[in-house]
Symmetry: C2
Subunit: 257 residues, 2 copies
DNA sequence: GTCATCCTAAGGTCAGACCACGGCGTACGG
DNA sequence: CCGTACGCCGTGGTCTGACCTTAGGATGAC
């Protein structure tokens, strides 16, 4: 059906005759790329939604008129982009995934490790965001939110007495805090900053001993301010709290240079 | 060398006999995934840096003891993650590249559309971010930044007289504004919030010249405040400016429900 | 010296095969 | 009658070996 080296005509639809206008860049590059774009478009348009199952690899081959290798490479890219999840076995296949911030976070980590962005910049972005979100949280935090935040504080205290304060708990608190703004875009951003932040903090902790107890106290005070719906107090608290972290990250970054 | 269906022994190393202890989880999942992790680790450790060239596909096959298909799938994933760039032809191959924040931004856009996050939420996230960034911009904006912002205002005026004020110009102004904070993480986030796809979400017919003219005036006033390094004035201006947008979006969203 | 041509190493694609996984139906045993 | 065990078969995962296209660089003619 398809011959090696003969891209499917439908795939690029370059005008071979009859058009007098500019021949637009025909460098089709990769066939798998075309497939990726098609699927991604369908997802962005909402014509494919989370949970939907793409046709099987072999069926996609026929559909696109390409070999299985090509289809598989396309699926691999979609999977790497977090758009589909591939399950094997009967009833397997490529399923459009439920959205997750994990991959974006990983991407940011990569950005940092390849020096496209510095940890200082990420920390600063985090400050901007978490500080700006305080008013929203004050306005919208429910009793459940507050209980959950206090719970994390309790667990942090427990962890502290057992001398191992996991940074994860701090990160969890901040994520939960932002989540209390009840805005999914905001939540997503903060979640994606989760992984990079942990990494920077680990590095910071190597350089200087951690300050666990102090941080937890501030967390608790912040929840108190939220409970009182006291925007100014909460903002001030968050500001000093974040600034200390930022300073630590900044110090290690400078020392690292 | 390797037989079909016979994964390289080194890959899983499951003890088939003689070991009485726990057989540790052997589900290696995918071989290509292992390769991806290895390369990614090398990059994160800094043992591979931007510009380095990985061995050719055929050489990697030998090195890992797998087929070319598998190696290619791994490279495809690395490429999709922006970690390597693949060049064809003589002197071609996979080159380690500093991932652009563009790719991560794309991921954010995908995430937002996949989670079907509403325009209201996106706008609110914008408010948080762009408002919080004002102090940074006041502090760091260069003369070039200011000139560029004024230029966009001029072009907006021109577009307005020809009665078509494109949302694109507004988006351009806002991204350029955030860019003046000279923090690439912030820039990335704001850019992704202004992605074309999301803008189309905001169906609000900005066409109304009244709105347009008003907006451009505010843009101009904002640049003025930035020039004076007047944080408070700038923040106030940005606040009213964004709030109007938010109200408009909110109104259409409500009408849409 | 300059240009056109060929060479060659690299990625891109194909076809067909086999294996591992896993849901589901069926057949067997209780 | 019910429950379990086995096996079918569709699905992704991998391998092989071949061919094509691309694009530097070498080689030769002018």
């Amino acid at each position: 059906m398809t011959m090696p080296g003969t891209p499917p005509a439908a795939a690029h639809g370059v005008a071979t005759a009859g058009t007098g206008d500019l021949l637009s860049r025909v460098s089709i590059g990769r066939i798998s790329e075309v497939i990726v774009d098609q699927v991604r478009l369908l997802i962005r348009q909402g014509r494919l939604v989370a949970g939907d199952r793409l046709p099987s690899e072999r069926e996609l081959c026929e559909r696109f008129g390409v070999s299985r290798v090509t289809v598989r490479e396309a699926l691999r890219v979609l999977e790497a982009n977090g758009l589909v999840e591939i399950r094997v076995g009967a009833r397997g296949g490529a399923f459009v995934t439920a959205p997750s911030s994990r991959l974006v976070g990983e991407g940011i980590v990569d950005l940092i490790s390849l020096a496209s962005i510095t940890a200082v910049e990420v920390t600063e972005a985090r400050m901007v965001f978490e500080l700006g979100v305080v008013p929203l949280v004050c306005e919208r935090a429910t009793e459940e939110d507050i209980a959950a935040l206090y719970d994390i504080c309790d667990r942090s205290d427990a962890a502290l007495t057992s001398e191992a304060y996991p940074l994860e708990l701090s990160a969890e608190w901040h994520t939960r805090f932002a989540g209390s703004a009840h805005n999914r875009a905001v939540t997503m951003f903060v979640e994606s900053l989760h992984a990079p932040l942990l990494r920077s903090l680990e590095r910071a902790r190597e350089a200087a001993p951690a300050h666990g107890r102090h941080g937890v106290e501030e967390h608790r005070a912040l929840v108190g301010a939220i409970t009182q719906r006291d925007v100014e107090a909460a903002t001030a608290l968050m500001n000093t709290h974040l600034r200390r972290t930022a300073d630590r990250v900044g110090a290690t970054a400078v020392a690292h240079d």
